[in-house]
């Protein structure tokens, strides 16, 4: 089980602030997780597709596509940050 959190534009577009997901075998990275979510189609495919720019964090640290993901992790997807 992993926790996925969505922020800002992604949260609104997906209509979801967070979800708990059983990690399927073979999904071991952020990129793998993104591909899995995009298979939901529709807004998922659009928001997490290559045309939309977004960032990910694993356990509250900025992550890359190849960053590992395992049961118990907190994964977040969000747009590029605009604070300050």
């Amino acid at each position: 089980m992993i926790t996925i959190i969505y922020f800002a534009r992604l949260k609104e577009a997906l209509g979801l602030t967070s979800e708990q997901l059983l990690l399927p075998d073979g999904v071991t990275t952020v990129e793998g997780l993104r591909t899995l979510l995009m298979q939901r189609g529709g807004v998922w495919e659009k928001e997490l597709g290559p045309l939309r720019s977004f960032r990910a964090a694993v356990n509250q640290c900025l992550a890359q596509g190849h960053t590992g993901v395992k049961a118990g992790d907190e994964v977040a997807f969000f747009p590029p940050v605009t604070g300050g």
Binding site: Q60, T82, G84
Partner: protein, 155 residues
């Protein structure tokens, strides 16, 4: 090293006075205050709503401040970032860096701001007469942060 994420406003003089306590070696204090402009890319901004990722926000800012301490001789530093609803002219963010000498304080403060802009998980939503929209990240902010990764130290 302190990070505060809060909805309330802050007073710069008071924050500096608190930060200076017990640090007689400080000679230079550089502060950055970011405020809500009344015009933003041509649209009249009525309100700004700031969302953040609790937990990660504090961790990422602490990590940026630790990097600043490793690169320059700093005595102490403070970041305050407001979240929630903000109005034009409101203060959004405060970075204070104290050092014995001014060069370190200037560099440390600008470094923290540049990384905060690109790495701390905050998102701004603008509400204008034309409707609400999420603010897009700026290329120039990425470039500002990247220049610090050159190995050549600035004077």
């Amino acid at each position: 090293m302190r990070v505060k994420i809060q909805t309330e406003d802050f007073d710069l003089s008071r924050e500096i006075a608190t930060l200076r306590q017990g640090h007689p070696e400080v000679g230079a204090i550089v502060s950055f205050v970011g405020v809500v402009r009344d015009f933003n890319d041509g649209d009249h901004v009525n309100q700004l709503c700031l969302e953040h990722y609790p937990g990660m926000t504090e961790k990422s800012i602490e990590s940026i401040m630790t990097s600043a301490h490793e690169r320059w001789q700093l005595v102490d530093c403070l970041v305050i970032h407001r979240v929630g609803l903000l109005m034009p002219l409101d203060q959004i963010v405060l970075v204070v860096v104290m050092s014995a000498h001014r060069g370190d304080a200037f560099a440390g403060c600008e470094f923290i701001m540049d990384y905060l802009k690109t790495q701390a998980p905050f998102w701004k939503k603008e509400k204008t007469p034309q409707g609400a929209h999420w603010v897009e990240a700026k290329q120039s902010d990425d470039e500002a942060a990247q220049r610090w990764s050159q190995s050549v130290p600035r004077l």
